[in-house]
């Protein structure tokens, strides 16, 4: 019954929106022309790629249902498919963003487009290869591609930010639409950088230890100092005290808990997380294995905060763009 309600709600909202589109979209048609190489073309390419990405998500979500209904068997579609499918439109998208960011409206020259991008791309290629290799000791194909493309976007965005803050026509002040666009793209670059590093270098592992033991994960040593009772206002808890060392010096202390809420009865685990700008360390208690031995899940997530930070910057870019009077004029 609840499912039916959700379906009706969806039909109303989506149906309403699409009907509105059908009636009003003609008002948005314009007769502006642009040539095959132009900023408009880059925008067109990127819009098409974004629509493809969305369609792929729709297909991946609905295909199992459709296949089951039409007797083609019951299958699962999970991360392994989505990850690969999304890369297909997203990689060209990231390339076109960097190239298109500095291209001219209406008519541009493809050689000039390459010329403008050359320097930034080569710089990004060097940095993008160097960082994973030096700091993490590895350089797989997707890792390097993601690294280079995101850094290229970041560098291109900084150039555009400079252009937005100091436009050629000084008298008109800060160009907010350019600044907003560049900031949003900068956020995207941060986002992709975070995703690339976390998926390539992130570690999630299950281990076990007793008091006094040390576990090593991703260069950090986790030493279990003690296990104590730690009652709370509406729960009973067992708390572990864990010292985390990096290169033999104490980096942080973590206190994960296993709680049994009085009302619920089934235990819940409270993970302990140490967050910083370039990584998250995560540890959660599993089960007691007897003799004060506990199973744990330890996670190492490099650059993960950049994903959230990137989104914030994207939102900031949108806000800056909206504040530009030119987008809010009613004609």
């Amino acid at each position: 019954m609840r499912d039916l309600f959700i379906l009706i709600f969806l039909i109303t909202v989506i149906g309403g929106a699409l009907i509105l589109y059908a009636k009003r979209a003609s008002d948005l048609d314009d007769n502006v022309n642009f040539s095959a190489v132009s900023r408009e073309t880059f925008l067109l390419l990127n819009n098409v790629l974004l629509v493809i990405t969305t369609l792929l998500i729709l297909i991946g979500t609905l295909a199992p249902l459709v296949m089951e209904i039409f007797g083609m068997g019951k299958i699962s579609i999970g991360a392994p498919w989505f990850e690969i499918a999304m890369l297909v439109p997203m990689i060209p998208l990231l390339i076109f963003i960097s190239m298109g960011m500095h291209s001219l409206w209406i008519k541009d020259d493809i050689r000039k487009v390459f010329d403008r991008s050359k320097f930034l791309f080569i710089t990004a290629a060097i940095i993008g290869f160097f960082i994973p290799a030096y700091f993490y000791g590895r350089a797989g194909l997707l890792l390097v591609i993601g690294s280079i493309l995101s850094i290229w976007i970041i560098l291109s965005s900084f150039v555009s930010i400079k252009n937005g803050l100091f436009p050629n026509n000084r008298k008109s002040g800060i160009n907010r639409s350019v600044l907003g666009m560049a900031t949003a793209h900068l956020g995207l670059g941060f986002f992709v950088l975070g995703v690339t590093f976390v998926s390539s270098f992130g570690i999630e592992t299950d281990r076990s230890f007793s008091v006094g033991d040390t576990l090593s994960v991703a260069g950090y040593d986790y030493r279990l100092k003690s296990i104590k009772n730690a009652p709370g206002p509406n729960y009973q808890a067992i708390e572990a005290e864990i010292d985390v060392y990096k290169d033999n010096s104490l980096y942080t202390k973590l206190y994960p808990q296993k709680r049994t809420y009085i009302v619920q009865k089934s235990p819940m685990t409270e993970a302990a997380i140490k967050a910083s700008w370039n990584k998250d360390l995560f540890i959660a208690l599993g089960d007691s294995l007897g003799n004060d031995k506990w199973s744990v899940r330890i996670q190492y997530k490099p650059m993960i905060r950049w994903i959230w930070f990137g989104c914030l910057i994207m939102a900031l870019g949108g806000a800056i763009a909206i504040s530009d009077k030119r987008y809010r004029s009613i004609e």
Binding site: G73, S76, I77, W81, P89, T205, R207, S266
Partner: protein, 129 residues
């Protein structure tokens, strides 16, 4: 009635969310990586939507064990996938198979890209005249 049955079934030995193997399955880090990737692609059939990597119900534990043994015996990822599909059907794998109807899924991204290219060319043609 069925719903109550399943609720009781799941509640009495519900998976502890951060439940866990108790140690590395393999000394060799490459094998361990392969093992971890494989078990993250196998669906826990008794759970809502989790892999056997994140669940500790009997089925998850037993399947992890079987996969561990099969890797040890030198079976390929495809053979392990076939083993599971033979017993549980394609539903158990989060990665759709490359044969049969699922092939369309793997073709979809490229097909859509071709379609997109076609659309872009048409729009540019109409806008640049």
């Amino acid at each position: 009635m069925k719903k109550i049955y399943y609720f009781i079934l799941f509640a009495t030995f519900s998976p502890i969310v951060f439940a866990i193997d108790t140690g590395l399955a393999f000394e060799d880090s490459k094998l361990q990586e392969r093992y971890e990737k494989l078990i993250s692609e196998v669906r826990c059939l008794v759970c809502q939507n989790q892999s056997i990597k994140s669940s500790n119900v009997f089925l998850a534990v037993d399947l992890r064990n079987e996969i561990k043994i099969m890797i040890g015996k030198g079976k390929s990822n495809n053979e392990i996938g076939d083993y599971l599909v033979e017993r549980y059907g394609e539903f158990i794998l989060y990665r759709p198979r490359y044969t049969g109807y699922s092939l369309f899924l793997w073709i979809a991204p490229l097909a859509l890209m071709l379609g997109g290219l076609f659309v872009v060319m048409r729009v540019i043609k109409s806008k640049s005249n």
